[in-house]
Each structure stands twice: as C-alpha cells, then as structure tokens.
C-alpha cells in the first residue's frame, strides 16, 4: 500500500480530470474527449473540450494550492482546524480584489493577483500574530479568523451596495467558481503556484520539527522563525493565487489534509504529496457535482465545497479530542 498509494491517487486524479472534461451541460463520450484533447480539428466536441480543459486545469492547480496551503497552515499553527478560508486569508484576498476592481479600476487578473497577495498576506500576518504565540487554541484561532472574515465580508457588501456594477460582477466571484477559467488566467497564476508549491514541499522537514514543539525543534537544530516565516509565505502565496483565480473557496484545505493524515500519519513529507494530489480530486469532484446537481444552471464549486466541508468540520469538532487539541 505504501508503494502504490501515491500512483493510485494520481490515477484517480487523472480519471476525475477526464470526467470533469466529459461532464457538463453537454455530455461528451470518451471518444470525443480523446479526440478533443489530442486531435483537435475544431469540431463541436473539440470546442467543448477546449472550454472545459481550462476549467479542469485551473481546478487541478487551485485544488493542489489550497490543499498544500491548508497542510502548511495546520502544521504551522499546530491546529487541525486551520484552513485558508476559515482563518480569513481568503477573505483578505477577496476584500483586496474587490477594492482593486471597484476603486482602482483594475480589471485583469494580472493586475489584481497582486492585490490578492497583499490582502492574503495582511490577514495571514494577523493570524500568525494571533496564533504564532503560545496558548493559541484551535478555538481562538478559528474565532479570530471568522471574526476577521465577518468584518471583511461586511466591507465587501458595503462596496457592493454603493456600486451596482460591482455587485453585478462581484457576486459571482465572491462565491468561488471555476466557470470563468481561461488559459490566460492559468498562465498568470501558474508561476506563483509553482513557487509556492516548491517552497511548501521544501519546508516539509523543518515543519516536521516545528510540530514537535518549540523547544524540541530548537534542540533538533530547526530555525524556528525562518521556518515559520517561510511557511506563512508559502501558505499566503498559494491561497492568494488560488483565490485570485477562482474566488474564495473554503474547507478544501481543511478536509484533505485531515483525511490524508488518517492514513499517512503526521509526517509532512508523506502528507504533502498526497494532499497536493487528492485536494484537486475533491475540488474537481465538487465542481462536477455542481455542474450536474442544479441543471440547467450550475452550483459554483465554492458552494459545493462549503456544503460538503461544513458537516465534515462539525464532525471534527464533535470529536472531543480534536477540538481540545
């Protein structure tokens, strides 16, 4: 199982990705998907495949980013309930993007991805400040994150009230969706996602040491502050870029690392690859469900992940051990 687990997960991911290309308002047969992917001649089916390919690739990238970001945050805060959505980091990115779109006239993702980073980083720093110190329990962190999110979503609403045009655009973006994905979006966020992913994977060993507690980590020769700062940077870049590309998506970064740890154990060198592969499975799966469940229209993926993830979160909370950690 140890040797086959990761190849098996990758195989599952490939299947889910192909299903994601085949399923939608117009269903495609496996032949058509194959034809569209490898022998594009511009038939109707090929065009559909082209549209869904961008969406699927973005789902892959954003899913991996959110899963890794959640893994890093959970290790960093020693808190199984940490999630970029729950800690307010996505809300920070959203608020910054809304500001950019409404007040500064930024329209392209190249422009507002920087705002997303700034917002994510600001909230990330705040969360770090609140949770980096000793004595921060999961409850405290989650509360602080939710309160920050509430304030930021209030701000976003205020902006939408004052500007009907912004409301028209923003109400679709703020739920978290893959529907508007394009090759351009992917190319623009890809460098950030790649950098964040490499950084996160490189931090697996030092973060393992940090998880043992400050004193032990220091005794093992880990650079505590440098590791923490880099980990926060990785989490921020990953969730900021994912949010800039698809809007705020909650709970993916919470659920997948939790599920993965149940069969890998706590070693981040094993958790991270699985989280990176299985998070897109969840995100794409949720996207597929959203396309099928509310025909003829769609449920945005952020809504599906919240509806699946909320009960998982509550289940986690009801297990006494987790909440008291």
């Amino acid at each position: 199982m140890r040797a086959f687990g990761l190849p098996l997960s990758v195989a599952v991911l490939v299947v889910v990705a192909l299903v994601s290309i085949a399923v939608g308002a117009k269903g495609l047969s496996p032949d058509q998907v194959w034809h569209g992917l490898f022998h594009d001649t511009g038939t109707y089916g090929d065009v559909v495949v082209g549209e869904r390919r961008a969406r699927t690739v973005l789902g892959l990238l954003a899913g991996a980013a959110l899963g890794l970001s959640g893994t890093v945050l959970q290790a960093l805060t020693r808190n199984p309930l940490a999630d970029p959505g729950l800690l307010g980091i996505n809300a920070g990115a959203s608020a910054a993007v809304v500001t950019a779109i409404t007040f500064l006239g930024v329209t392209s993702i190249t422009g507002y991805v920087w705002f997303a980073f700034a917002g994510a980083a600001a909230v990330g720093a705040l969360v770090w400040f609140l949770g980096g110190s000793r004595g921060a329990t999961p409850v405290r962190l989650a509360l602080a994150g939710t309160a920050i999110s509430a304030a930021l979503y209030g701000y976003i609403q205020a902006v939408m009230i004052m500007d009907d045009a912004a409301l028209g655009r923003m109400r679709f973006w703020t739920v978290g969706s893959l529907a508007s994905a394009s090759d351009g979006t992917i190319v623009r966020v890809l460098p950030f996602l790649a950098a964040g992913t490499l950084l996160a994977l490189g931090l697996a060993r030092p973060l393992n040491a940090v998880a043992l507690g400050d004193d032990t980590a220091r005794a093992l020769g880990a650079h505590l502050n440098r590791t923490r700062a880099l980990a926060m940077l990785a989490a921020t870049v990953l969730s900021g870029a994912a949010t800039a590309a698809c809007g705020p998506i909650v709970f993916v970064g919470l659920m997948v690392p939790y599920a993965v740890r149940s069969f890998t154990g706590p070693d981040l060198r094993r958790v991270m690859p699985y989280a990176a592969v299985l998070s897109p499975v969840l995100l794409l799966g949720a996207d597929i469900v959203g396309r099928v469940a509310a025909r003829p229209s769609e449920l945005q993926v952020g809504i599906v992940t919240a509806i699946i993830g909320g009960p998982v979160f509550i289940h986690l909370v009801r297990r006494r051990r987790t909440a008291r950690l």
Binding site: L86, G154, Q157, G168, R171, G309
Partner: protein
Amino acid sequence: MKTPTESRAVRMPGGLSLRLDVRALAVAVLLAAAALAAGVLLVGTGDAKIAPADVLRTLAGNGTAYQNFIVDELRLPRVLVGLLVGAALGLGGALFQAVSRNPLGSPDVLGLSQGSAAGALVVIVLLSGSAAQVTAGALAGGLVTGALIHLLAWRQGVHGYRLVLVGIGISAILTAVNGYLLTKADLVDAARAVVWMTGSLNGRDWTQVWPLLGLCVVVVPVVLGHARALRMMEMGDDAASALGVPVQRTRLVLMTAAVLLTAAATAAAGPVSFVALTAPQLARRLTRSPGPNLLPSLCMGALLLVAADWASQRAFGADQLPVGVVTGVLGGAYLLWLLVTERRAGRI
C-alpha cells in the same frame, strides 16, 4: 476574577436581600439616558430638520400637525426600531459571549446572522416576497439556525468551545448558500438582498415596533432573572454546579432567549453587524465588572445602533448608506483592536 468593590447588599424585610452593583447600575442608567437622547436627536434628523426641543414637545403631544406627521408616522417608529434592535442585539451578544465564555462569541460569528440572512434571501430571491414575508423568513431562518447549532453542539450537554466551533461551521455553510442565492437573483433582487443583508433602518414603521417590543417585554425579565446563575457559570461548569446552579437548564434557557432576541432583531432591521460583538465589550469596560453586564450591554447596544444611524445620516445624507455599513466599519476597527489587546491579555 476581581470582586467588584462597589456592590452593596440591599436588605429587605422578610429576610430577602439583593446584591446591587452600584457602578453597573449607574452605567446602565447613563447609557439608557444617552440612548434616548440620541434617539431624540435622530428623530429630528433628516430632510426636514426639527430641533430637539420641538421633538420633545411633539412627543408630548403639543406639536404642529406637520411635526406630528413627521415624528409620529415617519421617524419615531424608525428610531424605536433602532433602539429595540440595538437593545436586543446588545443583550443577545452579552448572553452569547457569556455562554461561550469568549469575547468573540457573537451572533455575527456563530452563524445566526447568516441563518437569518438565508431565510430572508430565500424569500427575496426565490419567492419575491413582500417586506413582511422577508421579516418572517428571516425570523424563521434565525430560529432554525439557533436550534441547529444547539442540537449539533449537544453532546452530554453543550460546552462553550463546541458551540463556537459548530457555529463557525454552520456559518461557513450558510455563507456559501447565501452567496449562491445571490447569484441566482436578478440584479434588482440582488441589490435589495444585499441592502437587507447589511442591516438598515430605512422605512421601518410601527408594524416592526410592536412585535419587537412585545418580545423584549417577555424575554428581558426572564434573562435578567437568570443573571445570577450566569455569573456563577462564568467560573466554569463544575464550580457552578457545585454552587447549586442547574447549568445545562440555565444555558438552554439563556441560549433560547439569546436566539429569540437576535433573530427578532435581525428580522426587523437585517443583520446589523458587530453591535452584538462590541456592545458587551464596551459595557464591560465602563462597568469594570467582569460579569455578564446584561443591563449595561442592553443599553449600550441601543445607544450604539441609534448613534450609528445618526452618524450615517449626518455624514452621507438621509437613507444613503444603511446603518449596517457604519457599524461594520466601526466594528471592524474595534475588532482589530480587541483581537490585539485580548490576545495580549490571553483572553481570546
């Protein structure tokens, strides 16, 4: 927990005695007076300005026909709704914070506001309902959410931390549902829904005042009657049980009261953000008493909401910016400060 030095025991004939916290009572009276004064000021504010003295004369029944119409029909109900909503939110917030034993455990954070919003959005978006139906939907949404949180947090009794975390989970789900409903709406309905979701006092009339007043008259005395037990519970469930407090029953009664107050307030004015979060905190700083500070929180909530509405009307003109935007901005700034100071004190 420090002992309030200014509390006095009032002994009555027949062996009855009552502990009175003089400072808390004085703070409550002052805040109530300030809230009423702000209310009078608010009645006089708008396109047709009326001096405070004239407002008082009109309220006493000696105004001109013109003033009578403006005050009695247009502005008084709005101000009363503001006072009642603020009071209900302040008291509800104090209860939630005391029961969850966390200064951030307010209905905004625990998902109740999102529940009310979901109820209202269903009516606005899917049923295109009237204002009264929106109110009913919001009330139902808030109550169902409150019951759900309580049920899910129940496991051989409800504990503060689990209540908070379950509430956060529910809140995340409902936020997504609300976002979805908003994308389903056409732009006009969406704009109406967003204004509702921010919390506004615009266009409130007597039909909103009476139910809210009735509820407050019933619930507030019940809550105040449990204040002593709540104070004991702040020391922890075990200590409170040892002192003879029926912990789970008290918590159920108080949670029900808090959910009722919050849901009714939200149904009347929309989820005005952060009043429930900030009012108890500000009240606590004024009374310098660690207890739940129920009555001061209630008066502080009323003052906050009416003052915020007045500020928004003065700064942006009548009915331009809903009061929820003002409380949201002020509350957000306050929240930041609170997070920093409470963290330093290790209380969050």
